[in-house]
């Protein structure tokens, strides 16, 4: 029976419930400031930040990108503009 604590395994940010990118970021800070053991190359700050953006703030960005992609008339106009000599 479902109760208040029940949540999906994959969050709406497409992240792992209970083990999200924020937790990995916090662990990266620990790795950099203390002895935490062997993580091979570690996660890398750039990778982590990219994933934070995608997981946390990706929704509006992708909505906008998808909408722009489907503005065929607008895209055709831009293409024509770019192709025009001196355009």
């Amino acid at each position: 029976m479902a109760n208040g604590d029940d949540r999906p395994v994959l969050t709406r940010h497409f992240d792992l419930a209970g083990n999200g990118v924020g937790r990995t970021l916090r662990h990266w800070v620990r790795i950099k400031t203390s002895i935490m053991g062997n993580y091979d190359t570690g996660p890398g700050l750039r990778c982590l930040l990219t994933l934070v953006v995608l997981h946390r703030f990706g929704r509006p960005l992708f909505r906008l990108r998808t909408w722009l992609n489907n503005q065929y008339a607008f895209k055709a106009r831009v293409r024509r503009l770019l192709r025009r000599p001196g355009g």
Binding site: A2, N3, D5, D6, R7, P8, V9, L10, F14, L16, A17, G18, N19, R23, T24, H27, R30, S34, I35, M36, G37, N38, Y39, D40, T41, G42, P43, G44, C47, T50, L51, L54, H55, G58, R59, L61, F62, R63, R65, T66, W67, N69, N70, Y72, A73
Partner: protein, 691 residues
Amino acid sequence: MKALPSQPEVCYSQSELVRRGRELARDADVVTFDLFDTLLVRRTHNPDLVKLPVARYISNLSRAAGREFHWRRVQELRDAREKAMRAHTGETHADHEACYPDFMAEVLAEIFGDDAGDALLQKVTDYELAIENAMLVPRAGIGDWLKELAAAGKRVIVLSDIYLPAAHLERLLDHAGILPHVEKVYSSADSFLAKASGLAYAMVAEREGLDPARWLHVGDNPISDGFRPLEHGIRPLLLQDSEEFRRRAIAARHYFYSLKRPFWRGRAIQQLMAPLEAENVPRSPRYREGYNFLGPVIAMYLHLVAERCRERNIRKLYFLSREGWMFQQVWEKITPLLYPEGNLPETEYLYVSRQALAGASCAFQGMSEDRANIVFLPAGNRCFRDVCRVFSLDPEAMAPHLARHGLEIDTVLSPAHEGFEIDNRRAFEELLRDPDYQDAVRAASAHAKAALQKYLESVGFFDQADVALVDVGWLGTIQRFLHAAIAHRDDRPNLHGLLLGASRGIPFLTTNDNAIEGLVYDREKFDFAASAILYARDLFEEACRAPYPTLNAYELDESGAHRLVFRQMDDAIGQGEQAQDRHYADLQQGVLDAADRFAAASGIITQRTVGYRPWINYLLVSKLAFAKRREINALRHLHHLDDFYGSGTPRRRRRPKLLHNPWEVRGLRQIVGCLTAGWQFRKHLRTMINH
């Protein structure tokens, strides 16, 4: 139907598409659906990734057939054959299509020569479709709408531009539960007429006698599913799901990072394992931890076990009760897709327990000092009575031997208890060197030993030269006892203990025929991060434990046959175990569900265990050493039966402990424990270095 628009109508989410589709379908007699990325979505960002495990499979088959073909070469060959076929089709058709059975048959013929045939092609096809099935998920909203349309009497047809023929697509749709609601499936691989050129629409209209004016087509490709149907007078409805694009972009990032940084390999596997669409329903906290934490750790551990067995050519693998119950189930779920070519050891579940083996272990060598010392590791054991309980001896019968060394049955022998004197412990060590005492122990254990031998013979334990033993681990006590019980036999196999964790609290005497190795954590390898597993050993034991009572003894019946005697479950401890089984049922289900999806995901990301280590370490440190209170409270067991733990109460510490492992305490002490996790982890490092 209303007049057609000048350009395809676009929906930016699944719900929007279903809502608009319902409106438009009122004026339609037939609704055609694109298959991939519309009806079904792939867990991977790139459909070509599904081909990699297939290439590895063919490569392994070629090796077994004595024709060494590296998987990259297989993949290149497949790409070349597919490309050539597309070029050839392009000479006679507007579309450059390919057909999987045709080009794959050519690939197999080139690799296997005369050995290639229909049976081999069928095997490879079955594996490719099994991987596809594992990676495909039906879109919940669109799937429900499709079923609604079929129930309302609309004609529902699936059209796809892909190299798989319609017969293969039907298998995928059947697995997704959609096929019964679909009238017909068309694939460009059968006719070489694709939606990309629009010829597929004309062909379907002619074959099915469809009126374009009463035809709605739903798809995701702006050209194939948008402008082409428009050109044929068919109303298109395009899905451009921004959330689905985001999900794929996230999967792509994890995949590409996993290629550069081993840390991300485990994470990328977990991203591909994650439930999607209708699979992703609300679950309890324990289920989520089973799926996202324990499941991947256990599956990766068993993948390591499989690799070790192949490296050492071990042909028999025993899962030791009771934790082996979970390990065996996970093994059976992950190995068919990870190793489709087989070449894995035969598996068997072995009924053992420390309690049942302890007695039998003394029948040949007597009671050795290291085995006797194991009794006094749990603080609940205090005197010789506990030794007798563990080794199934009669204390009264041993009293004369004790008396010879100035000991009594209740003399305190454990330093954890009030009244302990070092001289008594020395006297106990002398007792262990007493031949009369050891003869008495051997005589008392003979019955248990005979029953154990019969049981082991019945499961073919002595038939192999090498056997692997899979257990959760720690001291390797079960293997220690098992080895002692069979040490007198010439036909005893070499025991390879492949444990989840080897804490080696009492040194394990490694010999050629008896060795243990901790695959996730081994104290001998000094992996500090992995040692975080020691924070919550009981969690792994209880999470993997079988839901039936522990084995108490091996006995012989009147006919001389062996009999397994299990613990009664009607007392307070038995009731507690049953309550614990119910408490962890969700967690265990999460682990098993994760195992279902692990193999295909791992096959796509790496198929080898390289790169597991950093992610396992991260999971252990992050989820155990730096666990949140609510996670600890959700995961902590209600009852834990330790068959060695006696009834004695150890004396209190002189100085009360200020900081506690938050897994072992509750309330304020737990809050303090969680807040000082970093400090405690550094203390843990000092302990690791000093020992």
